[in-house]
């Protein structure tokens, strides 16, 4: 039985934090995943990467755990405690053995609430970030993605810039910037924490209450994301001459998570570039023409909007053939739609695979977090099959015709110039 209202406990703390707990006693593991409503949307474009920098500092010193103490607390028990940042959220996760859970929640709470931003650690993180950015900028897939989002939305929009930032925005950040960002934006309000695994619900609620219940801060500013501007369709070449292979990204603005077309787009994308070995794109570009090792499509549906894109890695001499094939598939699915069989196949896959994503505690925690974060309801998994099967052949053709028109698309090719 999927997680549902009868086995999920949901408690709203008075400070705006929502906690979900689901017990699962099959293995002596405890998993916590959560998000705070603070992300790269809260940073100024000139300070791109600030939110990610702050998150990277959380594990490098807090009031009760300095860098060494944090490492020892987590690593000596074989646990994981990680932080990350997205446009709207700062995400965190704990995975550990049951007996170590309370200790690691204490570390997590101290890190989120009371980071100290030691100057030595700030410089270490900066140095590491700058090298990581340098590596990203030498990776054709990384560059193609980056240019795609920049071209689509512009760096002024949080969706249009790298959450990890850029060398020129990371270098000038000061310790005070980090502290100020944490003080201004870290809040339990609208945050979510999910716990699954070999735990007792009441004990978890007590534990989280003792660590987070007295945390009071300014209300979250979750709806700050500016409206998306309509992008200018164009083709961008990122020439990287020492590379052997080119990466292509081609796509257009998609839809927000709350959009009524969400499920139609999900099923359509499965047919286009996921099902089996990468759907219609895989069949055309990889299987029939042998142009690429990977050619697939994917969607991103966020709070303020989304994208629908296709990506492929190809020899520089095959870029035009691969692009033409992808565009032809965009046009074909919009003009001719899909067969009833293709629809049924993808519906069967998307619903059939659900038990596999819910097999582990981490899978369950990630699913529950997403359900709460996007307001899908605790009965979401019980309704999921019905929503996927409600999608019709006509819906698929309509959303493809609307969102995947080549004239709406931004195309980026990163790699060497063709011979």
């Amino acid at each position: 039985m999927y997680p549902n209202p009868s086995d999920i406990t949901r408690v709203a703390f008075s400070n705006g934090l929502t906690v979900l707990v689901r017990e699962n006693h099959t293995a002596p593991v405890a998993v916590l995943q959560g998000s705070l409503a603070v992300g790269s949307m809260h940073e100024k474009p000139a300070q791109a990467g600030l939110a990610a920098f702050v998150a990277a500092m959380l594990s490098r010193g807090s009031r009760h755990y300095d860098f060494d103490a944090f490492n020892e607390a987590v690593e000596s028990v074989g646990g994981n405690l990680t932080f990350g940042v997205d446009a709207h959220s700062t995400d965190f996760g704990v995975t550990c053995l049951r007996e170590d859970f309370a200790d690691l929640v204490a570390v997590l709470a101290d890190a989120l609430r009371r980071p100290t931003f030691p100057a030595v650690q700030v410089e270490q993180v900066r140095r590491q970030s700058l090298v990581n950015l340098q590596e990203r900028d030498e990776d054709t897939a990384g560059v193609a993605n980056l240019r795609f989002y920049e071209t689509l939305y512009g760096r002024q929009h949080p969706y249009g810039r790298a959450t990890s930032g850029y060398a020129e925005t990371i270098k000038p950040l000061q310790g005070d910037d980090l502290t100020a960002f944490h003080t201004a934006h870290y809040t339990p309000d609208q945050g979510v924490i999910v716990v699954t695994g070999d735990v007792e619900t009441q004990r978890v609620l007590d534990l989280l209450g003792s660590h987070f219940g007295d945390w009071h801060a300014a209300p979250a500013q979750r709806q700050l994301a500016p409206p998306l501007s309509c992008p200018t369709p164009q083709r961008v070449a990122a020439v990287m001459d020492d590379k052997v292979q080119s990466d292509i990204v081609i796509g257009a603005p998609g839809i927000a998570r709350s959009h009524p077309d969400f499920y139609a787009v999900r099923v359509a994308n499965c047919i286009l570039g996921q099902f089996g070995l990468m759907g219609r794109l895989g069949t055309s570009v990889r299987e029939e023409q042998g142009l690429a090792y990977y050619a697939y499509s994917s969607t991103l549906a966020e709070i303020a909007g989304g994208v629908w894109l296709a990506a492929a890695g190809v020899n520089p001499d095959h870029v035009e053939d691969a692009l033409a094939s992808i565009e032809a598939e965009f046009i074909r699915i919009g003009r001719q739609g899909v067969s009833a069989e293709e629809l049924a196949d993808s519906q069967a896959y998307l619903t059939g695979v659900l038990p596999l994503t819910l097999e582990t505690n981490e899978g369950v925690a990630a699913t529950l977090l997403s359900m709460e974060w996007y307001g899908l309801g605790l009965d979401y998994l019980l309704r999921y099959k019905e929503m996927i099967y409600a999608v019709t052949v006509a819906d698929i053709q309509r959303v493809c015709a609307e969102y995947l028109r080549p004239e709406r698309c931004v195309t980026v090719v990163a790699g060497p110039a063709a011979a």
């Binding site: 690593e75 590491q128 090298v131 099902f275 299987e287 042998g290 196949d345 596999l356 097999e359």
Partner: protein
């Protein structure tokens, strides 16, 4: 069915085996197929893995990449499941699948909602015997694999690894990259591939692993139904090359345009089944931290280890670590670092040697041993949560060593002493037995 052994007869269907190696049912079919079952009701899922004892280890010069290419060809169709139909059938049933090739093995797996697992037996038994290897499909796949390789060639750390690995061996086929040299990928023919398939893809060279929610007796019947009639193949050709003891330090210098500098250092190290394997696993953990046991390595917080302190905290590197994995024949213990800007490779090399010599002189501390044991315990438990990970570990262990090796891992690791670690560090880490690789940005 021939030999049968139930090593856990008291309870053949529990809610969830608490250990990776418990409640196993093992058998061998008359045609030589080895079978490992681990039933569990923890989740309504089941995973089927078919392992072949073939990988780049079994490839001759001029034919590197053969095993990986054969793996690709098994997705290109049989008479019963023409190209694309296999993928669709599995996905339609809510399943996920993949194939992987490494030095010692090639493996295919499907994980399904439990009631659909029979489809995995059907498709895997079919393509064990009936893959078509159509000439046109072979040519089309040539460019796909070249594209896969070229994607890796974009990355200088990959190129450095490939060059250093080739330098570390003079005789043993572990020197070849699993994906194959580009020159070989241009010349390998359809018949080369088919011959490799017929030689190594036989029941007597394979291991079938099933984990998850199924009835064991019915599963054994199904395995017999789908695989029992396949004829055994001839004896599998032995891999005969033995790597001679390295007597001269080897160095690789790769230059390129990317500005990030990398360092690699490789030492020959014992095979999985060797008594000195686990002391080196402990050393790997003390020097480089815990490793995830997920399918692709997984992740673990990793900043309290000796290399991080000696290289990253001192600002010589922005990333540093080591790795050591189980192989059938002696493999490599690898140190790697991503250099901080303006740092000389020599400084990183000496800092790593400093840490090696410290272990050689002093061993490791009791606290470090305890940490390694606890980390291993935790990783085994995390890994046991998923039927896919369970099947991976059971089959992988059966290929590189045997199931007793996996069963004994935790207890034998806990028995490793500081003196053991010190001893193996002195045996395996010597200056004349190292292969060092530097990637140096051309602007330097």
């Amino acid at each position: 069915m021939a030999t049968e052994s139930h090593n856990a007869t008291e309870s053949r269907h529990t809610a969830a085996p608490q250990e990776l190696v418990s409640h196993l049912i093992t058998q061998q079919l008359d045609n030589g197929l080895q079978v490992i079952l681990q039933p569990s009701r923890a989740a309504p899922a089941a995973s089927f893995w078919l392992w072949y004892r073939v990988g780049s280890r079994n490839e001759s010069p001029g034919l590197s990449g053969l095993s990986h290419w054969v793996e690709h060809m098994l997705f290109k169709g049989t008479a019963a499941f023409p190209r694309g139909e296999f993928d669709k059938a599995v996905a339609r049933a809510g399943g996920v699948f993949n194939g992987m090739t490494w030095q010692d093995w090639t493996v295919y797996f499907e994980t399904f909602p439990a009631e659909r697992i029979e489809l995995a037996l059907q498709v895997e038994s079919d393509r064990m015997a009936n893959a078509l290897f159509d000439a046109g499909e072979t040519e089309s796949e040539r460019t796909v694999i070249l594209s896969e390789r070229e994607g890796s060639e974009n990355n200088y750390f990959y190129l450095l690894q490939e060059e250093a690995q080739a330098a570390a061996y003079v005789a043993h086929p572990y020197r070849h990259p699993v994906i194959g040299w580009k020159t070989d990928l241009h010349t390998i023919s359809r018949d080369d591939l088919y011959s490799h398939y017929r030689t190594f893809y036989t029941p007597n060279n394979a291991i079938a692993v099933v984990t998850g929610d199924f009835a064991p007796d019915a599963m054994l019947d199904k395995l017999q139904h789908y695989f029992g009639a396949l004829p055994a193949g001839p004896p599998v050709p032995a891999q005969r090359a033995v790597e001679p003891v390295q007597i001269a330090e080897r160095r690789v210098l790769l230059r390129g345009q990317d500005p990030t500098a990398y360092f690699l250092q490789l030492f020959h190290a014992p095979a999985a089944a060797d008594d000195e394997f686990l002391p080196l696993v402990v050393l790997d953990s003390v020097l480089g931290g815990a490793k995830g046991m997920g399918l692709l390595g997984g992740s673990a917080n990793n900043r309290s280890n000796r290399l991080y302190r000696a290289l990253v905290e001192t600002e010589l590197a922005v990333d540093a670590g080591c790795s050591f994995g189980p192989t059938i024949e002696p493999g490599l213990f690898t140190f790697q670092a991503t250099l901080a800007p303006e740092v000389e490779h020599q400084a990183v090399e000496e800092a790593i040697w400093c840490e090696i010599e410290r272990v050689q002189a002093e061993g490791v501390t009791a606290g470090e041993l305890q940490k390694a044991i606890k980390q291993t315990k935790a990783q085994f438990v995390y890994s046991s949560e998923s039927v896919t990970n369970r099947a991976y570990w059971l089959g992988f262990s059966a290929v590189v060593a045997d199931l007793d090796w996996l069963a004994g891992w935790a207890a034998q690791l806990a028995a490793v002493t500081s003196e053991d670690v010190q001893r193996v560090a002195n045996i395996y880490f010597t200056r004349e037995q190292q292969t060092v690789g530097w990637y140096v940005p051309e602007s330097e």
